[in-house]
Symmetry: D2
């Protein structure tokens, strides 16, 4: 039993050379450069952009698949965070504080599947905003995930 859990969390001596080989500098030359965001979002394209709405295309890359070969749930959570957050960025709010995120995983996405990822601003109370994010398979129309994200922005005096 213990062995299985340890294996699942891959606590082996032979660590992946590829991860070990990632030399990610803390001294970022570009102030906005972030390896994690690049890693997680690289390849995304904005198709439609309106106040309170954004729709993007994304083809599932091998780097974001889990051990079953599906788009990893952590990667889906990252889209809910980032694509929803992009909407609030649009509203010119300097700082966001995320408070709650919830996701329903309704389907699976495989490598090379093309996804439509859209986010809608649900509105909110004062500085509190809710966003709704949908991930769909473009070819089949199947809903892969539905997420909701609650964020706060700086203008707390409005509440």
């Amino acid at each position: 039993m213990e062995t299985k859990t340890r294996e699942y969390l891959r606590l082996t001596d032979e660590d992946s050379d590829r991860v070990a080989g990632l030399s990610i500098s803390l001294r970022r030359t570009e102030p906005s450069y972030c390896f994690y965001d690049d890693f997680a979002l690289k390849g995304i394209r904005i198709d439609k952009l309106q106040p309170g709405f954004v729709s993007c295309s994304f083809t599932v890359p091998p780097r974001l698949t889990d051990r079953n070969g599906d788009l990893a749930m952590g990667a889906i959570a990252n889209f809910v965070d980032e694509i929803g957050g992009a909407l609030l960025h649009e509203k010119d709010t300097p700082m966001k504080v995320s408070v709650d995120m919830s996701i329903s995983y309704l389907g699976k996405a495989k490598v090379n599947d093309e996804l439509e990822i859209s986010a809608k601003l649900l509105g909110g109370k004062g500085a509190y905003n809710g966003t709704l994010v949908l991930l769909k398979n473009k070819a089949s129309g199947e809903l892969i995930a539905q997420g909701r994200h609650s964020l706060f922005t700086k203008q707390f005096s409005k509440i």
Copy 2:
């Protein structure tokens, strides 16, 4: 406005060479090898393991920080998924289907912060199981995030 959102989603021509340079083979030689899991979990150590409970240590690496220099929310979501899922793996269940995940982000973790990540099995109905995952700062004891994850396993006949 549009420019801001596009910048936020970093739709620039100069893509990160480091991400582009990641050559992740789809022909995995090891059947269980998964770059994403290694990328997201490498460095985690199991400290305590009991039936229905696991506690791990993890030091926040630069590769998992977001543009603010904090442990990315997608990375936190991945821990909720993986550490909670490891508990069910322990129960010798061959296949898990994730259905819902929800996370409250209560604090921030910075690079080199040492975290305690623990997961507890909440129980469930038949093949449905709920897990509760906590991320704490080891030094300050501050709660960084609390997550819940609902999963199904194969034995649906039990329901």
Copy 3:
């Protein structure tokens, strides 16, 4: 401090005579009769009904308001449960098992406000279904709450 919490949970000797006076028989003459559902849903009207979609009208009654005079959050949660569940009932599934529900409270509804409560089937994996429920103020269009509900139905062999 203790006094405040005790007061908040109204642990007074003078219990409300009206609640005490509710004589709800356990021997239900009608098999489908349920006081709680009547209490919580009475007054709701279906305006539109399509496969996978239902839209209702409801005027906030005094009986469902909390100590601030707003539609109680428990009452909103009950709508997310019942109106979402009604969609699956429509699909002729004899038994539902609820697993997860999450709600974002985005606004307030006052006594006599007329609400539009709509539910949409998000789809799902086999016997697992997700529903999305919205509560809006009809006059202002303001979103009061957005909820999501995950349910299972009996045909687990399909998973």
Copy 4:
């Protein structure tokens, strides 16, 4: 199909006389009197009360059961809201704004089952607080539900 949904939402002519007979006055003589809270919470007893923690006993009454004879999910949601909220009341915060609530339904409670309902303060960022609420069957120890609730209090300047 339509008939089933309509029946489910009980849109019959013979409305329950008992609900119709509830004469709940809007002119509340006691300022803090609230029929809904009494209806939903009457019978609850505080067993233990500490800073950031409260534990209560509650015996499931017929008035809170759904059409299957189980403690209604809306009623469970109300406990997550109220018992969690009571903790923040204890902290002497004059106004709470609920933002997100999520619940996992892990078991069922029947009429006359005695429950232990406990709430713990998870901490938070400034005026944002998270609470964790558990409903357990006292006799069997079975977990009926686990809920999380995010609330804001008035002192937004602290954020």
